[in-house]
Amino acid sequence: MKVAVASGKGGTGKTTVAVNLANLIKEDYQVYLLDCDVEEPNAHLFLKPSFEKSYPHTVPVPQVNQDNCDYCGRCSEVCAFNALAILKKKILFYEHMCHSCGSCIYFCPREAMVEVPREIGLMEVGFYRGMGFVHGILNIGEAMAPPLIKEVKKYQDRAQVTVIDVPPGTSCPVVASLKNIDFCLIVTEATPFGLNDMDLLVQLLKELKVPYGVVLNRADLGDDGVEKFCKREKIPLLLKLPFDREIARLNAEGVSLIEEITWVREAFKDLWSGMKELMKFHG
């Protein structure tokens, strides 16, 4: 069972929900937590896993052999992302724009190009109290997160339940993180921003044909827009968390909320049974 935790808007409590949910589920099942927010991974701050394996992740990019090149410009013509420019006797390659499609190499009439690996980030794999933990750290200044997210996602079929912490937004990194999942938990807040970005995410999930439910965080701060929206769109509202000083304090200390606050533990139990029901998961 693969469960993603996403939000649209940033800062709604995705990671808090993902980490506490994973901590609860691991009491009954074998769990892996994948932090797909490779631009700003932070789930490890709450779980403090011990990493057993770390390795750089690379993407293939072209390298030009100037001796064979006659500057015909074919590679630049076929590059859909304008990562190559041929200026008379100069070849300019913008590596951050390259999507590793391989067209330049395939179409080069003089076999003047070869594929070489380029490092874009670091993978770390470890464990926390029996739970598998995986995240990727994208190198600073790197423009494309999806290739590294795909590497993190390779670990999503290793346990009975996989919890995936998804980056904010609704663009390519989010689509890559939501691939081949069974359920998406939307964590939002009771504000117009929370609603707007959640609406975008719901449209994306409909497109991807992934079932979903909502956690409304800081439900008592803001307005009733999200609740009205859920009612109108018949979206299951699985959990309402109030704004709570104790939660904020413990979370800032990186402490597991379900172990420290009884009512939070009960709330997450209800959330998990609600999710299981929606997923028809009785494993």
Partner: protein, 111 residues
Amino acid sequence: MSMVAVTSAGPHGDSKFEVRFGRAPYFILLDEGSDKLEGVPNPGIEAEGGAGVKAVQFLMDQGVKKLITGKVGPHAKSALQEGDIEVYEGSGDRVGEVIEKYNQGRLQRLI
């Protein structure tokens, strides 16, 4: 005689001067010192990414040596430098007006 390109919102001399480079809808081409202008669409505007690089490639293929525009992005900047294209910072409402300022030597060189 070198060929000059000016970024423009439309294909004519009285079109609005465009401050963006990679996403400029048109380039107005002219031979330095001549009055004859030619408007050509910028293939860069259709690009998903790398519009500036594509636009530089296009200008190089056209034989352009000098460019008058407003803002140039980092990728386009390095490509313009590599391609030895001189860049001047234009200002004004209409393309014709900007060209006039250029002819009077009133535009500042950026690259």
